[in-house]
């Protein structure tokens, strides 16, 4: 045993103590990715439930009162607007101001949230359509067209106000007259689906162009 050995032992001990302290103080092991969009789901769930209840009531009424025009077809265009507006609203999003300062804020995030809301609401519409035996194009395409229209108008007024306005207009100009006359309007007739498909494509294009050029995507 000589002085060199002591030096080396002291060095090793110092290094070991340093490493131990580093492990102690340093960041803990990183857990696996858990990207639960819990905040979004939590905020949108009540509106999704409302849309579900609306469609359930429509199915029940349609099957009970066969003389009425199809309530499922009348309500399907505006049912997705509730969760879509809730997913992208300054009022329902507590972190809105933070979001407005991040690079991902814009078209990508808007579409992501809209698709998430549609993915949840379309199965509800499908169930209602299946239960009442309507052609899928007639409950799906109008809903998509109204969603795209909300996003397109959203650049001007905010998606939530646009959705509310469109739903009110549809109720006033289509639902109420249809119930009053007990007839489905021509826009919901079996042959109307190519018009709706064209509207979906055109409105989606407007929505994409508008939001791409408008940094305050509201």
């Amino acid at each position: 045993m000589n002085a060199d050995d002591d030096d080396i032992r002291a060095l090793v001990e110092r290094a070991a103590a340093g490493i131990a302290a580093g492990i102690e103080e340093g960041p803990g092991p990183v857990r696996g990715r858990r990207f639960r969009p819990a905040g979004l789901a939590g905020r949108v769930a009540p509106w999704l439930a409302a849309a579900g209840a609306l469609m359930l009531a429509a199915v029940a009424l349609e099957q009970t009162f066969t003389s009425l025009p199809s309530l499922v077809l009348l309500l399907a265009p505006v049912a997705p607007l509730l969760p879509v507006a809730a997913a992208w609203s300054r009022r329902t999003d507590p972190a809105w101001e933070l979001l407005a300062s991040v690079p991902r804020f814009g078209l990508g995030l808007l579409l992501r949230r809209t698709l998430a809301a549609l993915a949840a609401v379309i199965p509800l519409l499908a169930l209602a359509g299946w239960a009442t035996g309507h052609a899928p194009a007639l409950w799906l395409l109008p809903g998509l067209a109204f969603t795209a229209a909300s996003l397109a108008l959203g650049g001007l007024t905010g998606v939530d106000r646009a959705a509310l306005g469109l739903a009110a207009a549809w109720a006033g100009f289509v639902i109420v007259p249809s119930l009053a006359t007990a007839r489905l309007p021509a826009v919901l007739a079996a042959g109307a689906w190519p018009g709706w498909a064209a509207a979906v494509v055109a409105l989606a294009a407007v929505a994409v162009v508008r939001t791409a050029f408008n940094r305050e995507t509201t």
Partner: protein
């Protein structure tokens, strides 16, 4: 290159022109933003965070003009922002929230877990990292807010009233964090608490009614006050003296 460069900047808050003809150039360091209520501090912060679009004048952040139809993505990637009213998702844990913000700031996916852990450690929330936001106290929420602001190592860090709800010990730790971040980034801290500025800031920006009243080193603020001015410390007396002198010049 200035990190923040405003010339004759005008920003509207609702109908009111809350920032009205502001000229300001900021480099790296910790700058305290002082001024009475309604001076335009929060509106200025929101414009610098690219949340509000300026009404007029020129504003360049990190060398990029942000007025008009500028592409803000690159600037926003290098921003950190804590709004005055920090909104959060109550069901998220602190870690999930900071991760989500890191993702929104377009950080590379593989860097996110490490950066999040580091940010949470730096604000002293390590033990509560997996607690849901709704279970946190006011001071802890503020610290979670600071963690999301610093997670991307921003070049421009904007903190609007960050010390609200922090206790004395936390404020002292927070000032050390500010000095650390301010070593190579530009940090702008808006506050009502003049003593925070004296302790943590290298420079002071004093606003009143949307305009620049005074700017200079933090130590210079203390020298401006005389014993007759309102305030309990030299810095507070300097603050009062500058505001009073400015209001004397500007017709009400």
């Amino acid at each position: 290159m200035w990190k923040v460069h405003a010339e004759a900047l005008r920003v509207r808050a609702g109908r009111r022109l809350a920032v009205d003809g502001l000229d300001l150039a900021l480099g790296p360091g910790v700058h305290g933003l002082l001024g009475p209520n309604g001076a335009g501090k929060t509106t200025l912060m929101r414009a610098l965070a690219t949340v509000l679009r300026p009404e007029g004048g020129r504003l360049a952040l990190l060398g990029t003009a942000v007025t008009g139809r500028a592409d803000l993505r690159a600037v926003r990637r290098a921003l950190g922002y804590l709004p005055q009213h920090f909104g959060y998702y109550p069901r998220f844990t602190v870690r999930e929230f900071v991760e989500y913000m890191a993702w929104l700031k377009e950080m590379p996916r593989r860097d996110i877990p490490g950066a999040v852990q580091r940010a949470v450690d730096r604000v002293g929330l390590t033990a509560r990292a997996d607690a849901r936001m709704k279970t946190l106290s006011g001071g802890m929420l503020r610290r979670a807010g600071i963690a999301q602001a610093i997670v991307n190592d921003p070049e421009l860090l904007l903190l609007d009233e960050p010390t609200v709800g922090l206790d004395v010990e936390q404020r002292i730790e927070f000032r050390a964090l500010l000095r650390d971040v301010g070593a190579d980034s530009c940090v702008l801290v808006s506050t009502h608490l003049v003593e925070d500025v004296a302790a943590a800031c290298t420079g002071v920006v004093l606003l009143d009614e949307g305009r620049l009243v005074w700017r200079g080193p933090a130590a210079g603020l203390a020298e401006r006050g005389a014993s007759g001015d309102a305030g309990d410390s030299a810095t507070e007396r300097g603050y009062s003296a500058l505001l009073r002198a400015h209001r004397g010049q500007v017709p009400a």
